[in-house]
């Protein structure tokens, strides 16, 4: 099984070859399929074990199978022709109410023609138009392969699943990002708990010191009294 990533129109050659230990087998039949249909009218390569494909648009992408039939059985292999995969982020991006958040999408190795951002509103995906709401969204193409979506003045409603879509010559590819918006109270609660613990420890130590100093002073006064008595 092999994954082949294509971002622009190319001519590609797929070939299935058996291991050299099987080279003694004769009368092998190689068939190529795409989905369920057998490909017949494609120009075959010289040793007629491979096929040549001209990939010009999205419809030509997909999975191609080659099946080698012999006397003892058959072996098949699969090729997946696809557009480059865009990775979003598994873990949610954390933003705070009132602050801004930056969502980053990268394409590795292949340069897309354009980037589009979508937000999921319920079940449908709505494109984010940064010129329409310039104070809220800023889409920045930082470099050819990287795009940034900056959301300003976050509110709870901005907590959503966002999609960054890269448009290639041969198709589109999406990456998923999740934004989570927290209020300041959320980390503040553990912080205040820790501060309370610290204050109580400080108070305990301080009181203990006060107590032991008072005890010392009493003992000293006693001893001084004893010694004055002695003398």
């Amino acid at each position: 099984e092999k994954n082949i990533t294509l971002d622009s129109a190319t001519r590609i050659e797929l070939s299935c070859r058996l291991d050299s230990k099987y080279s003694h087998l004769k009368s092998l039949q190689v068939t190529w399929k795409r989905g369920n249909e057998t490909i017949e009218h494609i120009s075959k390569t010289d040793d007629s074990r491979g096929i040549q494909l001209n990939i010009v648009d999205n419809s030509k992408l997909g999975s191609y199978y080659c099946t080698v039939k012999g006397e003892e059985g058959e072996i098949s292999a699969r090729f997946h022709l696809q557009v480059p995969h865009i990775e979003g982020r598994e873990k949610p991006i954390i933003g705070y109410v009132g602050d801004g958040a930056i969502m980053i999408c990268k394409s590795y190795g292949y340069t897309p023609i354009a980037w589009t951002w979508y937000m999921t509103n319920g079940t449908e995906q709505i494109a984010i138009n940064d010129s329409l709401r310039a104070d809220k969204y800023i889409i920045n193409r930082v470099s050819a392969n990287v795009t940034h979506l900056k959301i300003l003045k976050l509110t709870k409603e901005d907590e959503d699943v966002y999609w960054c879509e890269a448009t290639f010559e041969l198709g589109k590819s999406k990456g998923k990002l999740k934004l989570k918006v927290l209020t300041l109270m959320v980390p503040l609660k553990p912080f205040l708990a820790i501060v309370a613990e610290v204050v109580s420890l400080v108070a305990i130590i301080f009181l203990y010191e006060l107590y032991s100093k008072r005890k010392e002073k009493c003992a000293e006064d006693e001893r001084e009294f004893d010694q004055i008595e002695q003398l």
Partner: protein, 520 residues
């Protein structure tokens, strides 16, 4: 004769006072363990913060923006200021005392963390996170180290090793940081870290001043008798020849402009007339003598005398090179393992084994050094030589078992000498001047720490192999104990200089100090 009777009387007096002193002594030991606990916590939190900076690095890169180089400045400022600010901290400690300095340090660290939550740009973070945290760490570290030296006289090496073993626990802090960042984002994580660092405030309160305060009211001469056992247990060597110094105390010229000490002299003679035991006043006057000396030493704001002291040069030379020898292999061990074809899982296993071994070896080395079978710096030099030899043999380690053996050996010897740095310095210098010496030594170590990683990186770029870094580290480790060969002659030189410069009484004290130090 009077002296001898004085001593005997002190012993007698010590007995009824000692009736109290097991109680106070036990309390004192309790406070000493408190100091060790604080130092342990400082190690855990400070080192943990420094090591988990790499995780913040990623978060900063995405959120705040800025190139890798600019963001890594934050980390370097943070870790280098921890050393470089040490002389400044020594001054502050001298002025304020250890406990306020430590609390100040804890405040700086948590304040820096809290301020960084509002950061929007890299320069801001450099200041808030790099500068404030670095200064805070330096304050905390210096105060804790000196306090440990002051409190744990007899078992300094072991206590130091226990405290340093806190560094071994820092491996827990990194996953914890990652978890917090996933949950709360880097701002929330910094907020919570600020709170956690605030825990160092109550633990700094455990740093009770060890030396007895001279009584505000000179009539309470008997106060000293009770406080004597405390310091006597600790200051055995100093008060034994404190008796001898009493004669010379009167001959010693008081420094000009010290009206306070003059008053103390006057009050000292007043209390002579008080109906207290003669020995107690003697003990008190010895304490007053030390208070005077203390005041003399802290008068210059920044005490540059360590820089002219050959002992300091000896120590710093070895400290510098030993730090270089320590840091460089740590950086390059994993990379070397990778180039030899070992998987990254196994390579990180190397690091964890090395970490645990180092922790155990520190404890063992501290305990052994405390048994006083020989002088501590002999152990120190021995560990360094062995470490250097191990490093030089490292290029021969080309398979995983051999590399593991190297890592274990390296960790054993490194743990050994790392645990002894502070005790050796205390042995060479004594506790009174520890602040300024430690401050300057840390300063020079900081220069090594700042220069070490880039130097190692440059070595790799130049030679395209990691072998050279290990050879370099081995060479450094072998060079570093060389200076200790000069230690006896340096002590003699110092003694001669002291003899020439000062009155005979003073030199007599110096030789007494020398004898007591040799005895330790």
């Amino acid at each position: 004769m009077e002296q001898r009777s004085g001593e005997r009387k002190e012993e007698e007096q010590g007995a009824p006072a000692a009736g109290k002193s097991p109680g106070t002594k036990a309390v004192d030991e309790g406070w000493a363990w408190g100091v060790v606990l604080h130092f342990f916590l400082v190690n855990v939190l400070v080192m943990g913060m420094l090591k988990s900076f790499g995780i913040f690095f990623v978060a900063f890169q995405e959120d705040v923006g800025g190139s890798s180089e600019r963001i890594s400045w934050i980390g370097s400022i943070m870790s280098s200021l921890r050393f470089l600010a040490a002389p400044l901290v020594a001054v502050v400690c001298g002025r304020l005392g250890e406990r306020p300095t430590s609390i100040l340090g804890a405040g700086l660290v948590s304040g820096g963390c809290l301020l960084s939550t509002r950061a929007t740009s890299v320069p801001f973070l450099c200041g808030s996170m790099g500068l404030l945290l670095g200064l805070g760490f330096a304050c905390l570290y210096q105060a804790a180290a000196v306090m440990t030296a002051k409190r744990c006289r007899t078992r300094l090496a072991f206590s130091n090793a226990i405290a340093r073993s806190g560094m071994g626990l820092t491996f827990l802090i990194a996953p914890f940081t990652q978890f917090l960042i996933d949950f709360y984002g880097w701002q929330g994580t910094l907020l919570i870290f600020g709170g956690i660092m605030l825990n160092l405030v109550p633990s700094s309160m455990l740093l009770r001043p060890a030396a007895a305060q001279p009584p505000e009211n000179p009539d309470h001469g008997c106060l000293m008798a009770k406080k004597d056992p405390e310091t006597l247990d600790g200051c055995l060597d100093e008060t034994t020849h404190g008796e001898m110094q009493l004669r010379s105390a009167q001959e010693l010229p008081t420094t000009e402009g010290l009206a306070v000490s003059h008053n103390k002299d006057v009050s000292g003679s007043e209390t002579m007339e008080k109906p207290c035991q003669e020995t107690m006043t003697k003990a008190k006057r010895s304490h007053k003598f030390f208070k005077q000396r203390g005041k003399e030493d802290s008068q210059p704001l920044l005490d540059f005398s360590p820089l002219t002291d050959p002992i300091f040069c000896i120590f710093t030379w070895s400290f510098l090179f030993s730090h270089l020898a320590y840091f460089v292999p740590i950086f390059h061990l994993v990379a070397r393992a990778r180039t030899l074809g070992i998987s990254s899982m196994d390579a990180s296993y190397l690091i964890s084994v090395a970490g645990v071994t180092e922790m155990l070896s520190q404890l063992l080395s501290g305990w052994v050094a405390d048994q006083n079978w020989t002088k501590k710096y002999h152990y120190y030099a021995a560990y360094l030589v062995l470490c250097g030899a191990t490093n030089l043999l490292c290029p021969l380690a080309t398979t995983f078992p051999l590399l593991m053996a190297y890592a274990v050996a390296f960790a054993v010897f490194c743990g050994g000498f790392m645990a002894l740095v502070l005790p050796v310095l205390v042995d060479l210098v004594g506790v009174q001047k520890l602040h300024s010496y430690l401050g300057f030594a840390a300063f020079f170590a900081g220069i090594a720490a700042v220069g070490g990683p880039p130097l190692a990186g440059w070595l790799y770029d130049y030679t395209q192999t990691y072998v050279c870094s290990f050879l370099f580290a081995g060479a450094c480790a072998l060079i570093s104990p060389i200076s200790f060969f000069f230690e006896p002659s340096a002590q003699k030189w110092k003694l001669k200089k002291a003899n020439l410069n000062n009155s005979p009484g003073f030199s007599w004290r110096e030789s007494a100090v020398q004898k007591s130090k040799d005895g330790v």
